[in-house]
Structure formats: C-alpha cells, structure tokens
Amino acid sequence: MGQSYRYQLGSKTYQFANLADLMAKASPARSGDRLAGVIAETAEQRAVAQLLLAEVPLKTFLNETLVPYEEDEITRLIIDEHDVQAFSTISHLTVGDFRNWLLTDATDTEKLNQVSPGVTPEMAAAVSKIMRNQDLILVAQKCRVVTSFRNTIGLPKRLSTRLQPNHPTDDVNGIAASMLDGLLYGSGDAVIGINPATDNVTQATRLMCLMDEVISLYEIPTQSCVLTHVTNTLECIENGAPVDLVFQSIGGTEKTNSSFGFNLAILAEAQQAALSLNRGTVGQNVMYFETGQGSSLSANAHHGLDQQTCEARAYAVARKFKPLLVNTVVGFIGPEYLFDGKEIIRAGLEDHFCGKLLGLPMGCDVCYTNHAEADQNDMDNLLTLLGTAGCSFVMGIPGSDDIMLNYQTTSFHDALYARRVLGLGAAPEFEAWLEKMQIMSNAGMACLSNHFPPAFAGTLSHSAVKHYHG
C-alpha cells in the first residue's frame, strides 16, 4: 500500500494512511469527496495535507500507483507509456517545487509542451491541489494544445464553441431550428454535436446525415458528432454513415469505463474506423471525449480516490487517442458531487488546467442543474475565468436552456460576451466563413451583421417552413 505520511504541528500529530489518502485530504472541499468519505475532517487537516503533499517527490507517483497496476488498464497505460525523456526535466522536483516551476517565467509554452508527456495525471492532480485559482489560470494560459479536423482548435486568443442543438424527441426540424439559431450567432466551430434523446443506431445515423448535409450545403468549416455510445458509432461506420467524430464519455478507472460499457481496445477500434473514413480536411483528430468529476464514485469505481484525481486519470485515456476535443461537463452531475457555484468553478478550473498540462484540447461545459446551488451569475464567473485561462471551447445552446438534457449551459450570447470582453476569436477557418456568409460584419470583434444573411434567406421562405411544419 506504500508508506504513510506524518506531520507534527505543535503538539498535534497528523497521519495519513497512504498517498491516496494524502491526495484526498489535500483536495479543496467538495461534496463528492464527503460522499465518498475521503474528505479532510477539518480545515486544518486539509492545510496540513497540502503542506505534506508539497514535499512529495514527483518520482513517487511513478513508484506508488494509486490504483493497482494489475487491476486497472488505465494505471497500466499511465505507467507503460510514461515518457521518461520528457520527465527528466522535472524528475528532481517535489510537488511544491513543480508548482513553482510551472509558474516561473522560464517555463514557457514550448517548455510545457516538451514536459507534458512526462507528466502523469496523478502529478497534475497533486500539483493542482496546492494551486490557487489564479495559478490554475496562469499556467493553463501558457499551455497550448492545437488540434484539427476541418478547422483548427486551440490557437492563441481563440475560443471555440460546440453548437449543441438538442431536441427532446430528436425532431429533425427542431434540431435544425437550433442549428440555424446557433450558426447565425456565430456558434459551432468546435463541433456541431447532438445528444440524441435515445441511444439508438437508426436515430444516430439519421442525425449524422442531417448534420452532414447541412455542413456540405453551407460549406461550413466544422465537424459533426452524435454523442451516442462508441459501439453505436462503430455500427454506424460499418453501415456507411457519415461519421466525423467518435464520441465517448470516459472515466479514470477501468471499472468506471466498464460501467460505461467500453474499454481501451474498443476506443482504439473506433478511432481506427473513424480514421479510415479520412473525412478530415485540415487534420485527423477524430475523437471527442467527455469527462466530469464524480463519475467514478457514481459508478462505485473510485478505489478510494478523491474525485479530482479520478478525473485527471481520465485524461490519460483521452491523451492516448489524440482527440479533437475533450469536454469536462463540470456542473452536470449534480450537488452530491459539486454542491454549489464555488465548487463548480473550482472544479472547472482544475479540470481545464490538468487537461491542458497533460496535452489535451480542453473545453468546458460551463453548466449547472436545477438541483444544485448555482445560477447564471456563477456561470458568468466561470466562463470569464476559463476564457482568461485559454479554454479551447465552451458549449453553445439557445438561451442557455438544454431542453433535452434538462440543465443550463452557456448560450450563444454568452460565447459572444466572452469573445468580446476577452478579445477572443473563433477558429480562423470558421471566422472567415462567418464573414463570407455575412453572419458577422467583423468576426474579430464578435460583431454580428445587422441584416439577415442572404445565403440563409431561403430557409425562412414561407413555403419552405410551411411545407415542413408537422
């Protein structure tokens, strides 16, 4: 089980059973760790755990696995594919030194990219636990992860959006109406991605065809994705459906993923199948993953780890398959894991930082449910912070209201707000398209055109709308 950790504070001795216990106790407070029974019992115990964690050498994480190597294919992935060469730059550091190293001026984008393959998820999680929100923002902003399919995601001063035109019955015109709304507000450069109401191969294929035809007709430099189970997407590919990106929700332990009904071999098979279609024009990043703190505990598969460490381990899975996009769906899981706005904001910044440090194109579903203690103001805060941190993409939904998944995420308007106050643009290929289509008069300034874009005029003609009604 590895060594225990002790700390003498005045007359009081603090003891932590092992590295996992120390990590959990050092985590900023959140309801999911309380639910799991791994949270620090007092504020002082947490602060002491952070002091102790800062003294742990980074090398320890290579020798002391938090989930047994023999039991877990993600641990094996992390250990077997660890890049010793990349690690050599930081191998002499403790967790506390690592924080200083990340913050130092000499550590620039290039250096971070060199070291990234040598950082394990546990190292990223550990250092994040002793970083303040501003540290998480500052370092993430220095990281650069650029990916591409039909456009380029993650360039400096860019903030992309996933257009999420969900509809509770997958009605084709309902989805198309939200798609049009989003496109006309400049949304959709990360992906046009639909969560289908029911997981079903026929339905998924129908939605893939719809998006493929819209993207072709309007020559939109973007990609589509139906967020169905990876085995469904594989079947769609076999049937000849137009699959751009393969989706899967992933977690940080093998047991979590088996509860989701997949393993690494299935992801590899799906990645190969999507690559064989050769549909990317700019690049070939063909995977879209979603994650979120709490999923391992929810599947009773957390091995006694805190939820943020489990989350960081999911990024090892993502990293293996060179995704176009990774999305931490931070406030979706509910108040039993992230209780309120404060916990959601902290988790969003942690996930974005850890993902970027590990080399992932990290975006965030800035969101909350109606049973959480959070509201629009909390989302404004997180969106602004993530925009500052260089977040790759956020969601775009009509009026923040997902009428299928029953939660609130960022609206098309929200993305324009963030782009304007932070001076961020869409993906360059998409930005050019927005101006060509006269959707925006000045895409760099997030200025929407005051006239209805002529290329879309036919869609609102009386006959077209009337014909398809009902």
């Binding site: 639910l35 509770p168 009605d171 015109n173 079903n200 509860s259 998944l405 304007r420 290329a455 077209a464």
Partner: protein, 299 residues
C-alpha cells in the same frame, strides 16, 4: 437627474424597441421549445428574455422540492387496476428509501438507491417463488411533478400492450417510493422476485420541462448492478415522448430482454425504426434553401 427621467418618459415604444435586434427566425419556434431567436441588445440577451429565464429557473427549483402525492396516486392506480382485472389487483405498496428527507436525498445518492428496513419487511409477504414477469416501481426522483402528471397515464398505455404481447403476463404489486433513485428498483425487484423491473422516475427538471418522466428497464434486478445493465427511455411527458411511443419502446426492450436474458448495452434500441420509416419528415427546412444549392451531394 430630472433630464434623464424626462428622456425615459418621452422615449416612445418604437425607440425603446430599436434597442433590441430582433431575429426573423424566431418563427421557427413552431418546431421547437428551445429558446431560439431571442434577439439581442448588443450581443447580450434582452431584458425580457433574461427575466423570463430567471422565472423558469425559480419554477424548476421549486419542482425539485415538491413532495410525492401518495394518496392521489394510489387512488388513480386503484381505478386503473379495475380496468385490467387480469393483472395483480393488490393495493400499491408505499416504500421509502434510506434518505429521510429531500436535503439528505440531494447530498446522499447512496441512501436514495437503497430501500429502508421497513420497506424490505413490507415486501416480504409479496415474495413469490414463481417470478413475476415485471415489477413497476414509481419513484419521485428529482421531480414529483413528473410522476403526478405522467406515471399513471403511461402505465395505462403500457399495460394493454404487455397483456396482448406477453403470454400469461404477471405483474408484481406496484411500488410507490419516496426519495428514490433508479437503483432502488434493484432492491425492490430482488425482494419481490421479478424477472424485470421498470422504474418510472422524475427526471431532473429542466427550465422548459419540470415534468419529464424517465423509464429504466433492468433485467434480473439485484443489488449492486451498474447502469450499463439498464436501458433508459427519457423525456416521457405531454410535450415530449408520447405515452404510446414510450410504451412501444418499453415493450420492445422488454421483449429483447426476455429473448436475450439481459438488459443494458447488449440491447440496441431499434424500436423506433418503424416509427421513423413512417414519419413524413425525413429532411428539414434548413436543407430546402432555394438560394444556394451548390454543395448538396444529391440526396
């Protein structure tokens, strides 16, 4: 100060309205309940839409905290049972999870997934050596409103299908659960001895849908099953998936579960294939754009 006030008063309606850029595609709301075509003040949401959103959020927050109306549900179920004398006519059972109240329920999902001791005791007399074909379990979940509005009506659509399609269909007594989550159906199914359990549960309320019913089918329910062993049908409500369509999906899933002796990811839901084939709308207005047709790949 006086000048400013005067300015506001003399602003006529048209001038105030010109502060907002309206979206002509708002008319597409005929296709969706999504908040499309909101318009904008600058790039921001106009005042009225912002405040309407807050009202909807307030209503959804209230829905989370509404209690299950057990008495009315029992009355409705009694009436329903009289229409189907072939099936189990026992009074529905009232059960409670280990979550004693809503605050506990929200923070301790593990309690919501487990039946309390009194519940296990009350199920004992209903245990059968010959397993029931199906147990129906109704739980408040995150919206009792969803149960009040949809549960009994959905069951009324489902029962005739089951009786018609499954020979000698046997139904366990219906359970009503306070502060319940999906997995509590495993405890109940195991305690009753049933081949399958169908949970009817209030989904987390959305802004536009505080009343959405979720259905979860689990074959051979027993404690400790994970969610990959379940099949889900979502958004059953008047403005969502119809009771009839949901009942057909349920029948399909249950038939497949009976055939394969399992449920979950092993069953691919193809129940909508027929519905899709007969549907008139295969394409969309967005693809019927007379202005620019180049790029259409000939479908």
């Amino acid at each position: 100060m006086v000048e400013v006030t005067n300015m506001l008063i003399v602003d006529d309606e048209q001038a105030a309205d010109s502060l907002i850029t309206h979206n002509p595609w708002r008319q597409l709301r005929q296709f969706t309940a999504a908040r499309i075509g909101i318009g904008r003040a600058g790039v921001s949401t106009p005042t009225r839409e912002t405040l309407e959103f807050q009202l909807a959020h307030a209503q959804a927050r209230d829905a989370v905290h509404t209690e299950l109306d057990i008495e009315t549900l029992q009355q409705q179920l009694n009436q329903l049972q009289q229409e189907f004398p072939q099936i189990n006519s026992q009074q529905s059972l009232v059960l409670h999870s280990k979550a004693i109240d809503r605050v506990t329920y929200l923070q301790r999902p593990d309690y919501g997934r487990q039946l309390d001791e009194a519940g296990f005791a009350s199920l004992k007399p209903h245990y059968t050596n010959t397993p029931y074909d199906l147990a129906l379990v109704i739980a408040d979940g995150l919206s009792a409103k969803a149960i009040h509005q949809n549960a009994v009506k959905f069951i009324a659509s489902l029962l005739p299908l089951l009786l018609k399609e499954i020979p000698d269909f046997s139904l366990a007594p219906i359970s009503l659960v306070n502060q319940g989550r999906v997995a509590i159906g495993d405890d109940i199914g195991e305690a009753l001895n049933t081949r399958a359990v169908l949970m009817l549960i209030g989904e987390r309320p959305g802004l536009s849908s505080p009343d959405s019913l979720g259905l979860y089918l689990t074959w051979s329910p027993k404690r400790g099953l994970t969610d990959d062993k379940r099949n889900c049908i979502s958004n059953v409500r008047l403005a969502g998936l119809s009771y009839a369509a949901a009942a057909h999906k349920c029948l399909y899933l249950l038939s497949e579960a009976r055939r394969l002796q399992c449920s979950g990811v092993a069953i691919k839901d193809r129940s909508t294939e027929k519905i899709i084939d007969s549907s008139a709308v295969q394409t969309s207005f967005l693809l019927d754009n007379n202005v620019d047709r180049k790029g259409v790949n000939g479908k």
